[in-house]
Symmetry: C2
Subunit: 525 residues, 2 copies
Amino acid sequence: MTAALQPAEPALATDRARRGGRAGKRAAGSAAFDQPAFRQLKIPFTPTKLLSDDELESIHLASLRVLKEIGVDVLHDEARRIMKAHGADVREGEVRVRFDADMILDLISHAPSEFTIHARNPAHDLRFGGNNTIFAQMASAPNCSDLDGGRRPGNQRDYRNFLKLAQMHNILQITGGYPVEPIDIHPSVRHLECIRDLAILTDKPFHAYSLGKERNLDGIEIARIARGISREQMMEEPSLFTIINTNSPLKLDVPMMEGIIQMSSMGQIVFVTPFTLSGAMAPVTIAGALVLQNAEALAGIAFTQMVRKGAPVGYGGFTSNVDMKSGAPAFGTPEYMKAQLVGGQLARRYNLPYRTSNTCAANTVDAQAAYESVFSLWGVIQGGGNFMMHGAGWLEGGLRCSYEKMILDIDLLQMVAEFLTPLDLSEDALAVDAIRDVGPGGHFFGTPHTQSRYKTAFYSPILSDWRNFETWAEAGSPTAMEKANRVWKERLASYEEPYMDPAIREELDAFVDRRIAEGGAPTDF
Amino acid sequence: MTAALQPAEPALATDRARRGGRAGKRAAGSAAFDQPAFRQLKIPFTPTKLLSDDELESIHLASLRVLKEIGVDVLHDEARRIMKAHGADVREGEVRVRFDADMILDLISHAPSEFTIHARNPAHDLRFGGNNTIFAQMASAPNCSDLDGGRRPGNQRDYRNFLKLAQMHNILQITGGYPVEPIDIHPSVRHLECIRDLAILTDKPFHAYSLGKERNLDGIEIARIARGISREQMMEEPSLFTIINTNSPLKLDVPMMEGIIQMSSMGQIVFVTPFTLSGAMAPVTIAGALVLQNAEALAGIAFTQMVRKGAPVGYGGFTSNVDMKSGAPAFGTPEYMKAQLVGGQLARRYNLPYRTSNTCAANTVDAQAAYESVFSLWGVIQGGGNFMMHGAGWLEGGLRCSYEKMILDIDLLQMVAEFLTPLDLSEDALAVDAIRDVGPGGHFFGTPHTQSRYKTAFYSPILSDWRNFETWAEAGSPTAMEKANRVWKERLASYEEPYMDPAIREELDAFVDRRIAEGGAPTDF
């Protein structure tokens, strides 16, 4: 199936309005909601260099020493054989593998600096790397919550609701995994049900967890069927991604190595992301945690290139600190921001797309949730993040996906997108004539220059309450969280499933149903 | 009086711990509160260039066209005479003044790119310009509020409370005016009571409003007496600043011009800050609003150099947008951030210190207050802001100073300061040996490398609640605002007045009491 055969549906209609100038700015996926069109976002300025080149090199060199002198425990037998074949120091009867700097640097030099992920709706294809930036919905929360129903374990109904919200908001260009884990589906077939939902309820690119070979292969096959393409085309056009979290410190486990083997050998996208919590699984110094992050990331990224030279792979950073009083992980902190900026510098040093995240540790959608998230977004954008995981919904250190936080984050991400939209500096926008017409002491409110632009001049926020105090107080002094509660319910009620060719739907269901009947995948991972 | 004669008091004790490395980091002004030491903050990285040099030049050139072709209405007769004497196009019987580009650029080239403001406690002297950044308490709110007492008009008690909070928090390096307007003091003597309080209750640098010659002169005299210096020394050592807001569009009124004449002629600091609300007093395009901002700022800054070549002056930016549905001003928006970054580029083009602000339009200390403020802080820091006005307390578009927002902002500013603190990249911080000691699969929590650092490794927030959900829920699910309410009351209770030499106090009181007896200043401004 090609784009030409695909009938127009809401997402495509929205894309037609993709703005050349301000015209398309207010195009809405739903009449009830004013949102910017789906588009490939770009960061228009140079990312911030927190470290000098020499300082950055000290982290790079220290991480190469870690790989050479200490090494990494690789628990997957086949992975160790592949590493040995590529010249790594693998000793009989030992899981420890040590790597030479030259070998690592030679391998990662084969990784592409930019690549595209293909969606079943080609208007939703996305570009990783360069100055592109991509925002994903949050992933992998065990719990979810809303203001009415409170906090509860993940389940299929909430899982599907979140996918619908991801589909209908253009600013969420991609999903990042299961926004909440639907524990009411048996683990052996959960991936089949969940990935089928991703393929049907959304037409944006998606992720498969690396939890055993079967799950990777099922994910790749569902993505292929949904796009209606051959295995050969799939090899050339990445259509699925996986996140590989190393087991910090310095362990690469069986499912993760298996995930790289399956995904990279089939040309699909891998983001290697150590989760290096400074003071817990990583040194208490941020510099030390970054050394560990970099060593682990380089080992994983180098392995993708052993599996297949040129396989698309990205550099993931997830260094934060813990609360040293309790050991609880902290997010959106100053230390997290510094690590975000340095992570970006490292990824660019290796010419790799950079993945980072929008996180917070708050237990409710209060000021803390907002400031930790915006500090994270600051780190993402100024760090030159090419891919923001957990862009919307993340609460409670990732233990919960919140409906209200989802709306708050969508608003925040839309604001960031507007911030990234270049200023119009045309003669007309510079407005010398308009200033002349108004003159000293005048007012611009009713002038033709204003009248012709005011509807689309500024970003119109979802949540911000700009009423004066008296009007706001008379309305019951609502907080942003209360407004978010109303908004997500209105939004969800207007969801429309994106079009899918009936023949593709039939093939998809046949595959998933057969695999479920076969029992799915082992659950002893 | 010199620093050597001044006995150590809490603020100085704190300064002794100024950190060389991490040691002084947790020095506290009060035993009950863990805060970083007072220090001159610096932005350690290159500010973000939102515009290319060519694009920036288009704004610069358009603003020079505005000054040449349209001109500015100058309502102050003496100011027009001064302008004419310096070659401006001033016509008999007209208030309109037009300026040549060369004249403007020549004048502003005499302004210093960096200068120091002196406090009565020399440990609190601060440097404007370069890569220095200074955080001020909010100013000029007509109302104040706290969670217990609600919203109320400003009064002397709240005014003094806010000054005490400014004094005891090291991150507020300066006050920016009256945090709240004490309307229970008669306007004729309000400036005398208020500036005396600034000089007594705080030992940090402060501001005087430009609302008529007498108020400027009284402010300068109080600052001089508090420092115990001569008029000659005062001329060489700026010890007071004033904010000059132009009347946009393109008007310079009597009190503002008078303020520049008094302050600049006596060597005190002026920040010229147009308040150019895009869509209201300025064009609806952000580029156009910036053209207007720049034209007005250049006119005011050039005038300071006509009054006295070399007078210390800064470039202020305060361009934001309005809600086009209601006309209400909006703050902390994506448009505001863009204007903050471009404002910084313009100020640096003219080699002038750059003033910007921490603002929001929220009516309560909810997620909106936090995200609008952190977006503002993002703009301040990435814009290379040398001076952040309204750093703490600002709510409701500046109509209200909030006790809880003050604590929230202090926490946010402390986080920003930590973000700006360079990473330790010593061999020991890179931690290769610590990583070796722990090895693959280990844990860093109890290691000597962690044990020797954990107390000061990370910023310890005031408000962030990092407890797990169950513990937090059992504690009654508190929000950040509720915690802030408890904190400010505890803090205020531990305030100690900074030491002042009794002879200086006597001189100060004698001056202020005499001026009050004389009737203060006219109230017909």
